[in-house]
């Protein structure tokens, strides 16, 4: 039997919950989706280990997109927001020390990127990039402005719902995840081919952040809560996949 350590092997990804590789209404997936089935094997040290991201790698304004690109005394245009949440694994344990990197469009729906050509203007006070490391309870918080929806070349008239890209690095390379956070009540969510790559409505709902009045800063910023679940391990060696390759 494959040796089972106390922490257990990683649970396999639920490929019916996750989007499929080929989702033809999202055109870019057609030529970039593997056609052969994925090959499974039990996680080994190569998958179960990962780099450590100390808080010392993170600058004091890295989590504050309102201030980290703005000229002195100025701030970006757009509704001020706090985006916060907790990162847990599938067993419900908080994931401390997780690296979270975010990127987003400005309030007009324009990204600060060399390949971006949308006619909405850049905001001289908004870079759209942030990062942080979760605390000992797995919690994180960003200050930002509400990104705008924007059109993109896919179908003849596709628009992305307002969203924030999230990149997550937990404790193991096997936990690596990139996803997007959407905003409660946005009618574009149901129309978007990228969101539509996810088949299960409950899975889509897991990416829709609700307004969180309890964390709103009166006369300053509204708050949205976005909790994230990274892959977890089997709890006991007994549960491990022991059948190998």
């Amino acid at each position: 039997m494959i040796g089972a350590d106390a922490n257990g092997r990683f649970r396999p990804r639920d490929r019916n919950w996750q989007p499929k590789a080929l989702t033809p209404t999202y055109k870019s997936s057609r030529l970039r989706s593997p056609t052969q089935p994925l090959i499974a094997f039990p996680s080994s040290p190569s998958e179960e280990t990962g780099p450590i991201f100390g808080h010392d790698r993170i600058g004091p304004l890295d989590h504050d997109l309102i201030r980290n690109f703005a000229r002195p005394g100025e701030s970006p245009i757009g509704p001020r927001l706090i985006v916060h949440g907790q990162v847990r694994d599938q067993s419900g344990h908080p994931v401390s020390g997780a690296l979270i990197e975010v990127w987003q469009a400005n309030s007009g729906g324009r990204y600060r990127h060399r390949n971006e050509s949308y006619l909405a203007p850049l905001d001289p006070n908004f870079g759209g990039c942030g990062r942080t490391v979760t605390d000992d309870k797995g919690r994180y918080e960003f200050a930002t402005i509400q990104p705008g929806p924007y059109p993109w070349p896919n179908g003849p008239n596709d628009w992305r719902p307002a969203h924030i890209h999230f990149s997550l690095f937990g404790h193991s390379f096997a936990q690596r995840l990139i996803t997007q956070m959407y905003f409660e009540g946005d009618p574009h969510i149901a129309l978007c081919p990228i969101v539509g790559a996810i088949e299960d409505p409950a899975a889509v709902a897991a990416l829709v952040a609700p307004l969180d009045m309890s964390r709103t800063l009166p006369m300053d910023s509204r708050a949205y809560r976005f909790d994230i679940v990274l892959r977890g391990r089997f709890q006991t060696p007994f549960e491990n996949r022991g059948d190998g390759l």
């Binding site: 052969q36 090959i39 450590i52 890209h165 996803t179 709890q235």
Partner: protein, 203 residues
């Protein structure tokens, strides 16, 4: 069986990294940070490694065009087969084993300077052949793709490697071999589709 399955939370669904991942992951390339603070620039911190190797590669789509907007991440053991140990107090390990590269916007090429990793355990006394874990995200990729880079010039360890051995009957093991192109130089192409489609893993 234990009923515990019902207590397990669902992993957050993945979404594509999209075409603008550089803003968040390599912001200095977009002029957003000028302090060179991008994470994962170097596989090693501190003194330069002894016996460095250089690896190049291109990721091709289903019609053979290079992906010019992808990000590749690498995770590996050091030359002795040890992974970077957790360090208390947020101190930085001198060898972090992790790096990320974005593909060149014109050619699609990525380039990594590292050391050849040592052999790591498979968990039952077996050793794996030297390899680097690879993770690929890009526009059009809904869930990040996991694969492995092995080395063509390690035939002995490769022959015994449990992952490569499982692929040999399928005649797909060679898609994971980086080709030797000179002294301490390797080339590793990844093909997302086609007859030589790279093996991707559900790990």
């Amino acid at each position: 069986m234990t009923g515990r399955q019902e207590d397990v939370l669902r992993e957050s669904p993945s979404q594509t990294a999209g075409p603008y991942l550089h803003i968040g992951c390599t912001p200095s390339l977009e002029g957003i940070r000028s302090d060179g603070g991008d994470l994962g620039r170097e596989m090693w911190t501190g003194a330069a490694p002894r016996d460095p190797i250089e690896i190049h590669g291109v990721i091709y789509d289903g019609v053979g065009d290079p992906l010019r907007d992808a990000m590749v991440e690498f995770w590996q053991a050091d030359a002795a087969g040890a992974f970077a140990a957790p360090v208390a107090g947020g101190d930085e390990p001198s060898c972090n084993g992790w790096a990320r590269r974005v593909t060149d916007p014109k050619t699609g090429l990525w380039q990594l300077t590292t050391v050849k990793p040592g052999r790591v355990s498979w968990g039952d006394g077996q050793l794996q052949a030297p390899h680097i874990s690879v993770w690929i995200v890009a526009r059009g990729i809904n869930v990040g793709l996991n694969t492995r880079l092995y080395f063509e010039d390690e035939p002995g360890p490769n022959a015994l490697d449990p992952v490569l051995s499982s692929l040999r009957p399928l005649r797909r093991d060679e898609t994971l071999l980086a080709r030797s192109t000179g002294t301490a130089r390797y080339h590793f192409d990844i093909r997302l589709q086609g007859p030589d489609e790279t093996v991707f893993f559900d790990i």
